[in-house]
């Protein structure tokens, strides 16, 4: 029930924020803050004091389903099609929910002073996107999962289409069509899966647990798996489905970019780990070389493209694709270290990319351009901003001691066992990362301030947000075991290869 509350609170808070705008345009952001803090409180309870919510970690085995569930909730929805509300959270789910709520607060922080018009509708969309994402991370009925998959899409469309920058119509439409069409392929694949399960057992069901281990006819299995893969690879995104991302990111307002990069991309990776591979183990292992190759291509190709960008947000967007390539590589290597690394990369990239987009957005808000050749020498006028930029850039590059390093390093170790060539090629990606990241610092913060830009340094709210994210990244880098321990039971139950 607690999971249903997490989602419902966000839905209700969203409606409240929309209605509150009429009385006072300042009110919605406080409502959003209260809603998110309430959710954060509940998530913290689930993480650190599950007993207080009546959740006993020791009783996990009694929840009646395979896996290490901390919470499971189920109720009928559309019995005609065997569709039910099944929500569940295990270690992996909880980590991602925590990431979602935390980054939700960060994006609220970046919206705090930036979004001035139609605040009610904005926070409505913000909260509904987050509700959709939490739904995706907890839904264990494929129909319900698809439902939330789409729910998170529409508010995001509104955020880009209304509060976006100069080319927002194009970007919003591209985002929507890419996601929606790949989503329809997934819906088709889900229905095929259900149909084959029905043929086998004469039982229509969308429950994840029932569909695990479905016996799919030889020729069809590949196509069903591909339907899921394309949907998740589009969201991730991986080359060649990454095309929507640079546009969506560069046109979205800062809070939108934060959510997109920080959370929405992770739903794709989560889908691969939770659904694609466990549902189709054999087909997936046959497909793994292709997927890993796509991962490596993503890492290297988009790193090169990123290097050629002049638009700061586009550059960061391409680096996101590059980092997500590591996730794809790690997930399809399917060894313990690799998948753990993928999970760590998801978390750490969530922080670093969100922070970088907040910096880029903050810059654009101050100097009204994203073109790097217009900037230069900003360290002199905004030293705090410069420091933060260096910190998060270095984090993204994979500096030991910070979260991203742990993630990418583990991915490389784990995939080395499966494919030396892929791991070697991906390792080059870490070198290239240094090049495209440091060029940002050089162009934007070093050199001379040739346009005599006057930039207001970071505000208190911004410093606070960045500070929290710094602590998070340091924590992940210094004590990753706390997170690896949480995700390990999940990965074991999903059938990840543990060699010890």
């Amino acid at each position: 029930m607690i999971l249903v509350w997490l989602i419902t609170i966000l839905f209700i808070g969203g409606i409240g924020a929309w209605l509150a705008e009429k009385s006072n345009p300042e009110l919605p952001r406080y409502i959003a803050l209260a809603t998110l803090l309430l959710d954060l409180f509940l998530v913290m309870l689930m993480l650190f004091a599950p007993g207080m919510l009546g959740l006993d970690p020791l009783e996990q085995a009694d929840l009646g389903q395979p896996g290490e569930w901390l919470v499971l909730f189920s109720a009928d929805w559309i019995p005609r099609f065997g569709v039910s509300f099944i929500f569940g959270a295990d270690g992996l789910g909880l980590l991602l929910i925590a990431l979602t709520v935390f980054l939700g607060l960060m994006s609220l922080g970046s919206a705090w002073n930036e979004i001035k018009d139609r605040t009610g509708f904005f926070y409505f969309n913000l909260l509904w996107t987050l509700a959709g994402v939490i739904g995706v991370f907890t839904a264990l009925d494929l129909f319900l999962f698809f439902f939330f998959w789409e729910v998170m899409l529409i508010p995001m469309y509104f955020i880009i289409a209304i509060w976006g920058h100069e080319n927002k119509e194009y970007a919003a439409m591209k985002f929507f069509i890419f996601t929606q069409v790949s989503g329809m392929l997934m819906l088709l694949a889900i229905l095929m899966l259900v149909f084959f399960h029905y043929q086998d057992t004469a039982n229509i069901t969308f429950s994840y647990f029932d569909l695990l281990g479905t016996n799919i006819p030889e020729g069809a299995a590949f196509w069903v798996m591909l339907g899921f893969f394309i949907a998740f690879a589009t969201k991730l995104p991986a080359v060649p489905f990454h095309n929507w991302l640079p546009d969506a990111h560069s046109q979205a307002p800062t809070p939108g970019s934060v959510i997109l990069a920080g959370i929405l991309l992770k739903t794709g990776a989560y889908g691969l780990i939770r659904f694609t591979i466990p549902l189709f183990p054999e087909t997936s292992s046959a497909f793994a070389p292709t997927a890993m190759t796509l991962g490596v291509i993503s890492i290297l190709y988009t790193a090169k493209v990123a290097f050629g960008q002049n638009d700061l947000k586009r550059l960061i967007a391409y680096t996101s694709v590059s980092h997500m390539g590591f996730v794809l590589l790690g997930v399809y290597a399917w060894t313990a270290q690799a998948v753990q690394g993928a999970v760590m990369t998801m978390l750490a990239h969530g922080f670093s990319a969100a922070a970088l987009f907040m910096l880029a957005g903050g810059l654009q808000h101050r100097i009204h351009t994203r073109a790097m050749d217009q900037m230069g020498g900003l360290w002199g006028v905004a030293p705090k901003m410069g420091f933060m930029a260096v910190f998060f850039t270095v984090a993204a590059v994979g500096m030991p001691g910070l979260g991203n390093f742990i993630g990418e390093f583990l991915v490389l170790i784990g995939s080395f066992r499966i494919s030396v060539a892929a791991a070697a090629a991906a390792a080059i990606g870490m070198v290239v990362a240094a090049v495209y990241s440091l060029i940002v610092i050089q162009k934007v913060f070093h050199g001379e301030n040739k346009n005599n830009l006057v930039v207001k340094d970071l505000t208190f709210v911004e410093m606070f947000c960045f500070g929290l994210m710094m602590i998070g990244l340091l924590w992940m880098g210094m004590y990753p075991q706390s997170m690896l321990n949480m995700s390990e039971p999940t990965l074991r139950s999903l059938g990840v290869l543990f060699f010890n």
Binding site: I78, F147, L153, I154, Y157, A161, V181, L187, L188, L191
Partner: protein, 486 residues
């Protein structure tokens, strides 16, 4: 025996009485409000008789009409639609200052025809219903032709519909004649037995069935019989366009489905092949042409072509999946489409009247900020048409995918996905237009003065879209019940 017959035909009888009453009233007292109120009242009375009809189902009311749960469901849907359209027509025709009472007589007779279509189980009833609906529609489309200021081009639209419709009626009749010549019967459910008795299957029967299908395809505006659709949709007054999009299509689809299933016509490969080509072409061409439109009524016209193409996928699947499932799926999608269309046209109608229709994309610019209620209704409709979850359209799409997967219609499903992808573009374009900053003001004055009836229609339909999307179980149970008979 006879009492059951009368009870079963109660809706039809009530509609007939209603038409006469409305006609006589209009002859004695020319008052728009009274006539409209009386129309809504007679329609509501006819609707409510389903309470008496339900217990005595199914019943073969003469050879011509078959009253069962299926026909009752569609009759109810049709009458509810007619009530909604009467409510939209009242404010719309308020500005039309000459004789607007006759419109309601036509509305009643057209509805009567549609109900007969939905109940028909015989070619004679089919033709009667089709003509009664068609002839009333000609007049309704061209209704404002004598007014001094006309919003659109009703005469052109009326003539276009008349010529095309008359032509296809001829083709249908010819098809019926061929079928009769070959097997010697006109009742739908006698066809399979007669076919067996006729022995070797000649091409004549198949050609006959295909000609009847062509006639139905015209009314359903399936490619390649769709050419009239955009012009007639645009030229007709908004309430009539709504009627065309909802009542006319629902009635025709109901009878087509019954005919195809009862006659086992789907067992012929030629019929399947023709339907498949029509479905694929409708989905692709309908959506592609919609992309280029600047007029919202035309966008809806092309989108209706595409949606009927989606519906045809279910009809084709009926050849290979369990019939009850396909009937259930078809009924649900038709219901969803009915509700979405009515709601969409209600929004256009709310900002239009018989002298000026605001139906171009430019008129909708910034509607979200000018009149958020109207635009929320329209956005709900568009998202539902696009098949986004939380709306009826999603459950409908889900049904299509389900039947398509079970029928293993991979080609059509691919076309469906391609078509829907194109469809997203123009739905989003309209949504985006509404979200743009409002730089024109004062053009939606009609909306401010709009009477309660239009609000009721919009609110009821929007609630229905969301209710069916969030908790479809009760409706699914009903539809499962009615589909069991097939």
């Amino acid at each position: 025996m006879y009492s059951n017959l009368i009870i079963d035909l109660m809706q039809i009888i009530m509609l007939t009485i209603g038409s006469v009453v409305v006609m006589i009233t209009a002859a004695f007292k020319r008052d728009h409000a009274i006539v409209c109120g009386l129309t809504v009242f007679s329609l509501a009375a006819a609707l409510l008789t389903f309470v008496f009809i339900q217990p005595v189902l199914p019943f073969e009311a003469t050879e011509l009409l078959l009253m069962d749960e299926y026909s009752l469901f569609f009759s109810n849907l049709i009458i509810v639609g007619a009530i909604g359209i009467a409510l939209l027509a009242y404010p719309y025709f308020q500005t039309h200052n000459i004789q607007n009472e006759e419109f309601y007589i036509l509305l009643m007779t057209a509805t009567l025809g549609a109900v007969v279509l939905a109940c028909s189980n015989h070619f004679v009833a089919l033709l009667l219903g089709m003509e009664m609906l068609g002839v009333s529609m000609y007049a309704m489309i061209a209704y404002p032709v004598h007014a001094t200021t006309v919003a659109k081009f009703p005469l052109e639209a009326g003539i276009k519909y008349l010529i095309m419709s008359a032509l296809t009626t001829g083709i249908t009749l010819f098809g019926i004649a061929l079928v009769y010549a070959y097997i010697g019967t006109l009742g739908f459910d006698e066809i399979p037995a007669a076919l067996d008795a006729a022995g070797e299957l000649g091409p004549v029967f198949v050609v006959g069935v295909l000609m009847i299908v062509a006639g139905a395809a015209f009314k359903l505006s399936l490619v390649p019989f769709h050419i009239w659709t955009p012009d007639v949709y645009e030229g007709a007054p908004v309430p009539v366009t709504a009627y065309l999009a909802t009542v006319s299509k629902a009635a025709m689809l109901a009878v087509t489905m019954r005919l195809l299933l009862a006659s086992n016509a789907l067992e012929f490969n030629a019929v399947i092949a023709v339907l498949t080509v029509m479905a694929a072409a409708s989905m692709i061409i309908g959506n592609l042409l919609a992309v280029m439109q600047e007029n919202v009524k035309r966008i809806f016209a092309y989108s209706s072509i595409a949606h009927l193409g989606y519906l045809l996928v279910i009809v084709i699947a009926a050849a290979s999946v369990a019939r009850p499932l396909s009937v259930e799926a078809m009924s649900f999608y038709m219901l969803a489409y009915f509700v979405m269309s009515l709601s969409g046209f209600a929004v256009i109608s709310a900002i239009s009247n018989s002298e000026k229709e605001l139906d171009t994309l430019a008129d909708f610019r910034g509607l979200f900020w000018r009149n958020s209620w109207l635009s929320v209704v329209l956005i709900t409709v568009l998202l539902s048409l696009a098949g986004i979850p939380l709306t009826a359209g999603f459950i409908g799409k889900f049904y299509i995918f389900t039947t398509g997967v079970e029928g293993e219609l991979w080609f059509l499903l691919t076309m469906l996905i391609v078509g829907s992808a194109i469809g997203l573009y123009y739905y989003l374009r309209l949504i985006y237009t509404m979200l743009q900053p409002a730089d024109i003001t004062g053009d939606d004055t009609a909306a401010a003065a709009m009477p309660v009836g239009v609000h009721v229609v919009m609110a009821a339909m929007t609630l229905a879209i969301i209710y069916l999307g969030v908790y479809p179980t009760p409706m699914i149970n009903t539809l499962q019940g009615l589909a069991g008979a097939f």
